[in-house]
């Protein structure tokens, strides 16, 4: 045992000796590791790839890069010079220059600092010719994102410099890099950003380049970002934004056959160019403080009650569950009464059948339909769960997984929700009857609303709504509702009547078979919200749309005419009723007095 201490001690000393021999080899014996024996140092140059461009479905440019230049300074390398001539070139007052120079010196005398950012191309041109006279200054190219249509701000998103948190989490990013923060810029960041390259060059003590290090063996080439093609129709998108001017709300338009998004408008919004370059921080703070929440993407993130549009789903579930036929008649004496319970309705003929119930949007009819679905089963819980499964199959109560960040799933209450609220076994179809007319706890985003329209247009199924068309989106699925096509056809004919001579007449366009449904959503905080969902043409649907106008009073007043105009614009590219168009564009629901 006693000799083991020697074995251990000598082994450790022996390794120490091996290290010393190895160090002698590296440091003294060989020249292999002495690349800086002439005091050369390596300088790393990063090549930034151009960020990918974004196009709409017809190849119109939505986002591009504009060249810009920063004037950099390395204080330690500056020499006495003709300051006046220099400042004239960059049109910078001497006072500002001195201030910035001192700030740069204080930060670091050997590291480069930005002296003037975003030089105009003109200033850059003049400067570049004479810059050799001013050692310690150089220009550094960079690019700024530009949005030529000044539109689709929520959808496209914005980019900004990475912060320390991102650098810690994602090792790819280095200080000064940009990253997509929202919208498409964020969703497709990895595709669109490309990969940065790095070159290593040798420089001597006088900062003179001495060529590539080891003939470029360590260099990596920059890979430029890939372009993204969106399903958006830029013209329709802009038209929607114009119609929603001075209103709060959203429009979503989908091509039903594919699930491609044609337009996705959220108002109020902002000009995406506001969040670029030097002005970004200031504008961002201002937008964030705005009480109208222009940064908030209502199309994906606002969860509204669906109102009467939801009656379509209850009709479909009732038909599928065979508690409702086209000939089922219910009475309505200005509302629905059951014991002491009363739900109001407007005045119309009575009794009525299914088609007319959709046409006139009767509350009483749907209270009866809804209760017959729930009460078909032995217990209210069972009936409710059957109903809820149908509702979920319409893509409600969970995210649709559109390829944009921040989507909300909305809310469809569950059995356990009511069990907690009313106690288990203490609630029934009458307790939750407000679901019949799309009120109560329901929350649905404008995107989900447009998707319901697409499902009806397709007579029973939908594709995952999506924006990206060039193949980077891998997860587009076909989803079935499990409700028969024949039942959809009944509802579709009724929806056609809604527009022909029902509550949705304001959306009517001569020669286009538009099917739609209005909705008015009670709003305890002010004027009711106005909503409309529609698709067209009836037999070969090309567009399904939802329009939601906050404080729009009735579905028929704002939402229906806007939907009609959008459909006409998309299908015909012309407007038959310019007076209506003008009234919609000029309508101001935010500050009505300014009209």
């Amino acid at each position: 045992m006693n000799n083991r201490k020697y074995i251990i001690g000598f082994s450790m000393a022996f390794l120490g000796l091996i290290f010393i021999v190895r160090l002698f080899y590296i440091q003294v014996y060989t020249d292999k590791y002495k690349l800086d024996s002439r005091n050369n140092v390596l300088r790393y140059i990063t090549d930034y790839p151009a960020r990918g461009l974004v196009y709409d479905r017809k190849g119109r440019l939505l986002v591009y890069n504009q060249a810009a230049y920063d004037l950099m300074i390395i204080p330690k390398q500056t020499l006495p010079m003709d300051t006046d001539e220099f400042l004239n070139l960059i049109s910078l007052p001497k006072k500002d220059f001195i201030e910035r120079y001192n700030k740069a010196r204080k930060y670091s005398s050997r590291k480069p600092t930005v002296l003037v950012s975003d030089l105009s191309a003109e200033d850059y041109g003049k400067l570049q010719e004479v810059l050799f006279k001013f050692p310690g200054y150089y220009t550094q190219p960079k690019t700024l994102r530009k949005y030529p249509l000044k539109s689709a701000s929520h959808l496209l998103g914005y980019i900004s410099e990475v912060d320390q948190q991102i650098i810690d989490q994602q090792p790819y990013y280095k200080m000064g890099d940009h990253i997509g923060r929202s919208g498409i810029e964020k969703q497709y960041e990895e595709v669109i950003r490309g990969r940065r390259g790095r070159r290593i060059i040798l420089v001597d003590v006088f900062n003179r380049e001495k060529g590539k290090f080891e003939d470029g063996a360590y260099d990596t080439l920059a890979v430029s970002g890939k372009d993204i093609y969106l399903s958006i129709d830029a013209q329709l998108q802009q038209y929607g934004e114009q119609l929603m001017k001075n209103k709060k709300g959203a429009i979503v338009a989908i091509e039903p056959k594919t699930g491609e998004i044609l337009a996705i408008v959220s108002k109020p919004d902002y000009d995406p160019n506001m969040l670029v370059g030097r002005i970004r921080t200031k504008n961002f703070e201002r937008l964030k403080a705005d009480t109208l929440k222009p940064l908030f993407n209502r199309a994906l993130m606002a969860s509204y009650p669906p109102g009467s549009t939801f009656k379509l789903i209850n009709a479909l579930v009732g038909l599928q569950e065979k508690v409702l036929t086209p000939d089922t008649k219910y009475t309505c004496y200005s509302g629905y009464n059951s014991g002491r319970f009363h739900m109001g309705c407007h005045s119309h003929a009575s009794p009525i059948n299914l088609e007319f119930s959709i046409q006139t949007s009767c509350n009483s009819y749907y209270s009866n339909v809804f209760r017959s679905i729930i009460d078909k089963y032995p217990t209210a819980e069972q009936g409710f769960n059957v109903w809820k499964n149908y509702v979920n199959s319409f893509g409600l109560g969970s995210k649709l997984n559109i390829d944009l960040p921040g989507e909300l799933g909305g809310f469809v209450p569950s059995q356990s929700y009511y069990d907690r609220y009313y106690q288990k076994g203490k609630w029934g179809s009458l307790t939750v009857v407000s679901l019949a007319i799309g009120q109560g706890e329901l929350g649905i985003t404008p995107l989900q609303m447009a998707n319901i329209s697409a499902i009806i247009a397709n007579r029973g199924y939908y594709y995952t709504p999506h924006l990206e068309k060039s193949g980077f989106h891998q997860n587009i699925q076909k989803n079935e509702t499990g409700i028969d096509t024949a039942n959809f056809n009944l509802v579709v004919s009724a929806m056609e009547k809604v527009v022909e001579n029902g509550t949705g007449r304001a959306a009517r366009k001569e020669g286009i078979a538009i099917c739609g449904k209005t909705g008015t959503v009670e709003n305890p905080h002010g004027e009711d919200h106005s909503t409309f969902l529609a698709f067209a043409p009836k037999d070969d649907p090309k567009i399904a749309i939802s329009v939601y106008v906050e404080n729009g009073v009735w579905g028929a007043r704002w939402a229906a005419p806007i939907a009609g105009l959008m459909i006409e614009k998309y299908l015909r590219d012309s407007i038959s009723d310019p007076a209506l168009e003008e009234r919609m564009i000029n309508g101001n629901l935010i500050n009505p007095d300014e009209e």
């Binding site: 251990i8 390794l15 120490g16 010393i20 003294v28 292999k32 140092v41 989490q169």
Partner: protein, 433 residues
């Protein structure tokens, strides 16, 4: 009983002096590694050298505190400390802050603590307590198994974070077991496994295409060759008793090792770790990725020459050419600025510390103190060997700090605690039986 007054006279001042010298050298070089003209105040706590100075101060307080605690505390609470550390390791793997893909840190405000650093001394204490208890002999299988569990448990928990470097450190405890009587055979077996391991890595990516669309991968080729060798050996030595049984067992064990290498590589190690090992074995020329750090570090050290460029005159370690230059690659700064002279002096200082610690361990009357002493020297030695080995291209790039030198509060404190508990035990050696 001795009188409390001479507690400081009984301390081993050689070890303490070596400790202070190493910590001072460490700080000088952290200063050099992050030095720039603008921040010259050594107390600037926005800079790493300022923070390190704070941590050194705290470490001194910690050391004095350890010396003031009664020596019996360390043996009595050996298991309790160990169990506490195990819980902390579980907690950090579940709730720790994730930094660069590993959950190794607890953060409170601006402070960050790495429990895996502190688990080392706790494991040393627990192992010493167990091996020094009555009727425990390393020769018994039971002892080997329990010691194995004490060592491997924290290692596995650290692997969950995952922090491969800190996990491997626990392998150092085999030196302690060896000193306490673990048969040299186990060393031979361990070495053979290591050789087989490396060999498997070398042939791992080979492929042998056979007829009928049948491909034999490197691992299987090796198993195949071993099988042939086993048959030949059995035939040649057939006269010897039990030869085929022994050969069979050896064959099964080796095949197990070979197959598990593939498993570890494909399922446990991260891509960047397997890449580093491949680069070290010369299987991959990757000067841009994993090989790049080592190449840069060797250029920095090599450029130091015989006598170095002088303090604060290094160019390679400035400008961030060398990664992690104040933590894992601090030896580069020393090599560049102090040259062969400086770096070999530093290595000699470490060896002197190790030899001194072995001498102290051997003069203990209690086996608890001796075993703990060997634990200390083993841990320090492992860090030293792997850290310097990687900067000069002799070991794979495994991120573990150089004791007392590298930047970092957790590691400095943990090494200080580790060492000073032993210094305390040593100063009371005449009282401990």
């Amino acid at each position: 009983m001795r009188n409390r007054h001479n507690i400081f006279q009984l301390l081993d001042w050689t070890t303490i002096l070596l400790y202070l010298l190493l910590v001072f050298i460490g700080w000088l070089n952290i200063y050099a590694a992050v030095y720039n003209e603008e921040h010259q105040s050594i107390l600037d706590i926005t800079q790493r050298y300022g923070k390190q100075l704070m941590w050194i101060g705290a470490a001194c307080v910690l050391a004095i505190g350890i010396l003031l605690i009664d020596f019996r505390f360390y043996s009595s609470f050996g298991y309790a400390l160990y169990i506490t550390m195990i819980f902390l390791l579980i907690a950090v793997a579940l709730f720790g802050t994730e930094v660069k893909g590993a959950r190794s840190w607890f953060t409170f405000g601006g402070m960050a603590i790495q429990p895996s650093e502190f688990a080392k001394f706790a494991t040393g204490l627990a192992l010493a307590k167990y091996l020094s208890s009555m009727n425990v002999k390393v020769k018994d299988l039971r002892t080997k198994l329990i010691s194995g569990v004490i060592i491997i448990l924290p290692a596995l928990l650290i692997l969950l974070q995952p922090d491969t470097g800190s996990t491997l450190v626990y392998a150092a405890f085999i030196i302690v077991l060896y000193r306490e009587g673990l048969s040299g055979k186990y060393f031979t077996v361990a070495m053979s496994v290591a050789v087989l391991f490396v060999f498997t890595l070398l042939v791992r990516n080979l492929e042998w295409n056979l007829p009928f669309d049948f491909t034999l991968s490197g691992g299987w080729i090796l198993v195949f060759i071993l099988a042939i060798a086993a048959v030949i050996i059995t035939i040649v030595f057939r006269k010897i008793k039990y030869v085929w049984q022994v050969v069979l067992v050896l064959f099964v064990l080796s095949s197990g090792v070979i197959m598990s290498v593939d498993y570890v590589f494909d399922n446990i190690l991260k891509p960047h770790q397997t890449k580093r090992i491949d680069v070290l074995l010369g299987l991959e020329e990757d000067l841009k990725g994993a090989g790049y750090n080592v190449n840069q570090s060797m250029i920095a050290i090599g450029s130091g020459g015989g006598f170095g460029k002088g303090y604060l005159q290094g160019t390679q370690t400035k400008f961030d050419f060398v990664p992690e230059q104040s933590t894992d690659f601090i030896f580069c700064t020393i090599g560049e600025e102090w040259g062969f002279m400086g770096s070999s002096i530093l290595i000699s200082l470490f060896i002197a510390l190790f030899v001194r610690l072995i001498m102290l361990a051997e003069r203990q009357r209690s086996s608890f103190s001796r075993i703990y002493g060997y634990g200390v020297v083993s841990i320090l030695f492992f860090h030293f060997a792997v850290n310097i080995g990687m900067t000069i291209g002799l070991a794979p790039v495994i991120g573990i700090p150089l004791p007392f030198i590298s930047y970092g509060g957790s590691s400095l404190w943990s090494f200080t605690i580790l060492l000073f508990i032993f210094i305390k035990l040593d100063s009371d050696r005449l009282n401990i039986l």
